[in-house]
């Protein structure tokens, strides 16, 4: 729940099939698109070459990627954050000030701008200490939210989800053995897992020894299951990348060599 970043960490792959659909509809490629797809093809192969070993092609692609992605982040931050949230707010604050209305929520962004500048004081000798002020502000936000959001989104929700009846009845009022066992396993699993995380007790004896041992078993099964479950998604990614060659590259090859 803690807002981690303004950037979306999942990558949006601009649709292969979008391209294929356009081709289907009898679209002609522009020179830019032809060049673009060839570049994309080359870069794809460059990155894949790393699987064999580090080489000049990968080094080229890697350095280009770091440069381009850093540039990408800077440009989007400027356009999506600095422009609307800093310049935009201050401007609208000043405009309403000129109309005699003091909109504090807009004008307060001057303070944010000042803190941003203080952070840059790090570059000025003997003024570096000033950069800790905005940093402390950021850490303060993190820790304040860290307490309340974690409580709300994790602790209470997870406890709530773990509260299950230990005897499950079916509609006909007999005991549903499958669900009852499942509930027991979940409750014991969560409890033993938590006991595994005990720091102030040696993992010995009946309670802490056995339970923490069960705890580690449950954790390991959870890891195994999650691992196995993720394999499918990861293979899909590779399939998606292979479809790039079919849906984007191949039509462009045809267009390039006119066949």
């Amino acid at each position: 729940m803690i807002p981690t970043s303004i950037y979306n960490l999942s990558v949006d792959f601009t649709g292969n099939q979008l391209f294929a659909a356009a081709v289907e509809a009898g679209k002609k490629f522009s020179t830019g698109e032809i060049i673009g797809v060839w570049i994309a093809t080359a870069l794809t192969i460059f990155i894949f070459s790393f699987l064999y070993e580090d080489n000049a092609m990968y080094k080229f692609a890697e350095h280009l990627f770091v440069g381009v992605s850093a540039g990408y982040v800077m440009a989007t931050t400027y356009n999506n954050v600095i422009k609307p949230n800093l310049f935009g707010k201050i401007q609208s604050g000043i405009v309403s000030l000129m109309h005699g209305q003091f909109v504090w929520k807009d004008l307060s962004f001057i303070l944010a701008g000042l803190m941003g500048l203080m952070l840059l004081m790090k570059l000025v000798p003997n003024m570096g200490w000033l950069s800790r002020w905005p940093l402390s502000f950021m850490v303060g936000i993190a820790s304040g939210l860290g307490i309340v959001f974690t409580m709300e989104a994790l602790v209470l929700k997870q406890i709530d989800a773990t509260l299950v009846p230990l005897i499950v009845k079916t509609a006909a009022n007999s005991i549903d053995i499958g669900d009852t066992i499942k509930n027991w396993l979940i409750v014991i699993g969560v409890c033993s897992g938590l006991i595994y995380f005990y720091f102030s007790k040696e993992h010995k004896g009946l309670v802490f020894g056995t339970m923490s041992r069960i705890g580690i078993f449950v954790l390991m099964m959870a890891f195994g299951a999650a691992f196995g479950y993720t394999v499918m998604a990861r293979v899909s990614l590779l399939i998606g990348r292979m479809l790039f060659f079919r849906d984007q590259w191949w039509p462009v090859v045809k267009a390039t060599f006119h066949f």
Partner: protein
């Protein structure tokens, strides 16, 4: 010491109990429900629905909140003013019941309240002079049960034991003698390829005894809402029938029929099966007591209300030869229907007038443009609004045409044309017809309110604004008022269309506008109720947002309990109490890993994760970095920290510099080793992979928040032969670190690491506090599960956070 501990445990127990008690009352739930307004008293009743369930009674003449009533957790509150009472129903409770409160309009005193057990489905509310009836669905796993409750309006006393039946309530239809008909839909279980089947049951309930007078089962499901007219209930049903053809292929037909059931004795008066593909359009209308139905295919059928032969109920049937465009309007035995007919590729629109006694077509009048709204009748004129479209796609333009038609001969009396497209339904008051249009003006869209005099059809005035109008028009003696999307309330003079004032409410209105004594009252989305006078000057602004959000009480108490546990042990550790901490495998390997790097003369690589400093995992990681930097400084081994976030880089530089200073080696600190790469997830991974294969660090640390890249890092790191120690609280990434790294700090261990490494007494104390917190959670889980086992479901509500 012993005593203190028990005092502490006692305090925790008290807090926990308090938590339970308060949480049980926890309210959850953003918008205002539309305001109910009593013109007589000038009291507006508004309810804040989703967030803080409270209903406020606001007196507009007195300009203050006169009462407030708390409502339990719900999706919305239904508010209805009935004389000097306000009926409040909290609908669709996420729990197991619906809550009804009846309060006094003037004082807000709760006269009575009642909890009605119900599943999370619609409630039917039906009232007569002294009784309120509630129809609710109650879910028992696969069985749907319907129940009807009756309460005395003033005392809340149950009039009779609730009526019970199987099925879902689809409606409650009043009959003439005050009894009502309950309409139930029953669903059979789906079997294999056969979808679930539905059937209907009508039940007449005696209002005095709560017993059923008669029960009539009908095949199929509803295609229209049942209505009662002169002691007959009419409705359309549809039924899916599978027919096996000669070739063995199954075809599915929909059979629709018009049904009439006597509300006196439940006798099915008539059943009329529509011909194939005929589908009724809209609900039936009544002309001289007989229901008339028009089908989408353009047939108008009039039924006898009490036919002699139930299988032949049709009085007359005519083919309009055109499809209906909107509902029929009936006035003085004449029915008017806007229709559309295809003439080759062209669509021809016309208004057809039928004599309902004979079904004879009196006249047909062709109109240009597409009929937009159902017809209205005013001052002996049938008014038709049409849209005329020119061009296609983006260059499309629209015109709005209003026509007054003579009801007797269909001749046009007058018309008015304006540019634009109708935005809201027409609003008729006395002789004035208000029309709201949106028109393109250059690159902008303007919104226009215009007023037509319906006796002459002349457009009296038009008011133009760039703001989107998003409330209903409120018209009083001399002005028309409305709210706009950009947060203004505008008042326009009714005589000339001049703007009287424009009030900046700073936020969109969330309710309609109510008025009393020339003052207007409305609630904004900011949670304020504002009363302004006829000059557009604020009389009173009331902030109705509460000071404390009751739905978050469980979070507050949870925070207090855990913080108390933590602080208690930190405090005792500070006092010098020795505390034991078990070994954590991954942390003991740190020395080994740094040592090996030194031996091999290779650098140590440290990754702080992908999150910024607003993530506690990053802060925990930076703390661990401090300890590792001290080791590398002592051993004089280079430490490389590529960062994914600029702020983290800047902080990491400070942390590492400080550690080198502490180790007495500030000269060996290289700030360029702690550098920024890129914020982008995979760009960063590509860069780090490059560093790994080229600089070949002998020890890699991954501590902090990681996403899918975790495995790419760990696998590349492994291929270079480094010792790898990872730590993260991301449950989704732990499996990959566990599989690919030598040691992994799982979840909480990451946060414990800095305490463990620092050996600072307070930090160690916090670890003990964390254990206490876990013990509390274990106890709560154990107790909660037991309570649930004994069907005490309220325990779940304690942890509800929304």
């Amino acid at each position: 010491m012993k005593i203190r501990k028990s005092v502490f445990l006692f305090a925790v127990a008290i807090l926990t109990v308090l938590f339970c008690l308060c949480a049980q009352k926890a309210y959850a739930g953003k918008n205002w429900s539309d305001q109910a307004f009593s013109e007589k008293e000038g009291i507006a009743v508004v309810g804040n629905e989703d967030k803080y369930e409270a209903v406020y009674g606001i007196s507009i003449p007195e300009k203050k909140v006169i009462w407030k009533v708390g409502m339990p957790k719900s999706h919305s509150v239904h508010i209805e003013i009935d004389g000097d009472m306000v009926i409040l129903v909290a609908l669709e409770d996420a729990g197991f019941s619906k809550n009804v409160k009846v309060v006094d309009l003037k004082t807000g005193k709760v006269k009575w309240e009642e909890k009605i057990p119900s599943a999370a489905r619609k409630t039917e509310v039906f009232k007569d002079q002294d009784t309120i009836y509630f129809g609710v669905d109650q879910d028992y796993r696969d069985v749907m049960k319907a129940k009807v409750y009756a309460f005395n309006k003033t005392s809340g006393a149950k009039k009779w034991t609730p009526y019970e039946a199987m099925g879902n309530i689809k409606g409650m239809v009043p009959t003439q003698n005050g009894d009502f008909i309950l309409i139930l839909e029953k669903t059979s279980q789906a079997k294999g390829n056969k979808p679930a089947e539905k059937s209907i049951e009508l039940v007449k309930i005696d209002k005095n005894t709560g017993k059923d007078v008669w029960v009539v089962p009908v095949k199929g499901t509803f295609a229209s809402i049942p209505t009662e007219h002169e002691s007959v209930v009419y409705f359309v049903t549809q039924n899916i029938e599978t027919v096996k053809g000669s070739d063995g292929k199954e075809t599915v037909n929909i059979v629709r029929s018009f049904q009439a059931v006597s509300s006196e004795n439940g006798q099915i008066l008539s059943t009329f099966v529509f011909a194939d593909k005929d589908k009724p359009y809209g609900d039936p209308v009544y002309a001289a007591g007989n229901p008339v139905v028009v089908t989408e295919q353009g047939k108008a059928i009039c039924f006898e209300s009490k036919p002699s032969d139930p299988n032949k109920p049709v009085k007359w049937e005519v083919d309009l030869g055109a499809a209906p465009q909107s509902n029929i309007l009936v006035q003085d035995q004449l029915a008017y229907i806007p229709t559309m007919k295809l003439d080759g590729e062209n669509k021809v629109y016309s208004v057809v007038c039928l004599d309902t006694a004979s079904g004879q077509q009196k006249w047909t009048n062709k109109v240009d443009g597409v009929p937009e709204l159902p017809l209205i009748v005013a001052k002996d004129t049938v008014i038709l609004a049409t849209r005329i479209t020119q061009g296609e796609g983006k260059g499309q333009t629209f015109q709005f045409k209003l026509q007054g038609i003579n009801p007797l001969d269909g001749k046009e009396k007058w018309n008015g044309i304006a540019d634009g497209k109708l935005e809201n339904p027409l609003f008729l008051k006395d002789n004035m017809l208000f029309v709201m249009l949106a028109a393109k003006k250059g690159s902008k869209t303007v919104h226009i309110i215009s007023m037509y005099d319906i006796t002459t059809g002349a457009a009296k005035w038009a008011y133009e604004t760039e703001s989107v109008i998003n409330t209903k028009l409120f018209v009083d003696e001399d002005s028309a008022d409305f709210g706009t999307k950009d947060g203004f309330v505008v008042s326009v003079g009714i005589a000339d269309g001049k703007e009287l004032y424009k009030y900046n409410a700073k936020s969109e209105l969330d309710t309609t506008i109510a008025a009393s004594d020339k003052n207007l009252g409305f609630a904004t989305q900011e949670g304020e109720y504002i009363i302004i006078n006829d000059k557009g000057v604020v009389e009173k602004e009331m902030n109705l947002k509460p000071w404390f959000d009751m739905k978050k009480i469980s979070i507050l108490l949870g925070c207090l309990v855990l913080s108390a546990a933590l602080s208690w042990y930190i405090y005792h550790a500070r006092k010098g109490k020795e505390m034991f901490v078990r070994k954590i495998a991954g942390l003991q390997a740190i020395d080994e890993a740094v040592g090996r790097s030194t031996e091999m003369g290779k650098p140590v690589l440290y990754i702080t994760g992908l999150a910024d400093v607003d993530d506690i995992q990053t802060l925990a990681s930076l703390s661990i970095l401090g300890h590792i930097a001290q080791k590398t400084a002592e051993y004089d081994t280079p430490l490389v920290v590529p960062c994914c976030r600029s702020v983290v880089m800047s902080t990491a530089q400070e942390v590492v510099k400080e550690s080198y200073l502490k180790a007495g080696r500030p000269d060996t600190y290289r700030s360029e080793n702690i550098h920024y790469l890129t914020d982008d997830q995979f760009g960063y991974v590509a860069g780090v992979d490059g560093i790994m294969v080229r600089e070949k660090p002998a020890a890699n640390f991954y501590m902090g928040k990681f996403y899918a890249e975790s495995l790419i890092l760990a696998e590349t790191g492994h291929s270079t032969g480094a010792i790898q120690i990872a730590g993260t609280a991301e449950a989704a990434q732990l499996p990959f670190f566990v599989a690919a790294c030598d040691y992994t700090l799982i979840g909480e261990e990451l946060f414990a690491a800095s305490a463990y490494l620092s050996k600072d007494a307070q930090q160690i104390g916090s670890l003990k506090g964390q254990d206490m917190a876990k013990a509390i959670i274990l106890a709560v889980v154990a107790a909660g599960c037991l309570l649930l086992t004994f069907e005490m479901h309220w325990v779940k509500l304690l942890f509800a956070t929304q």
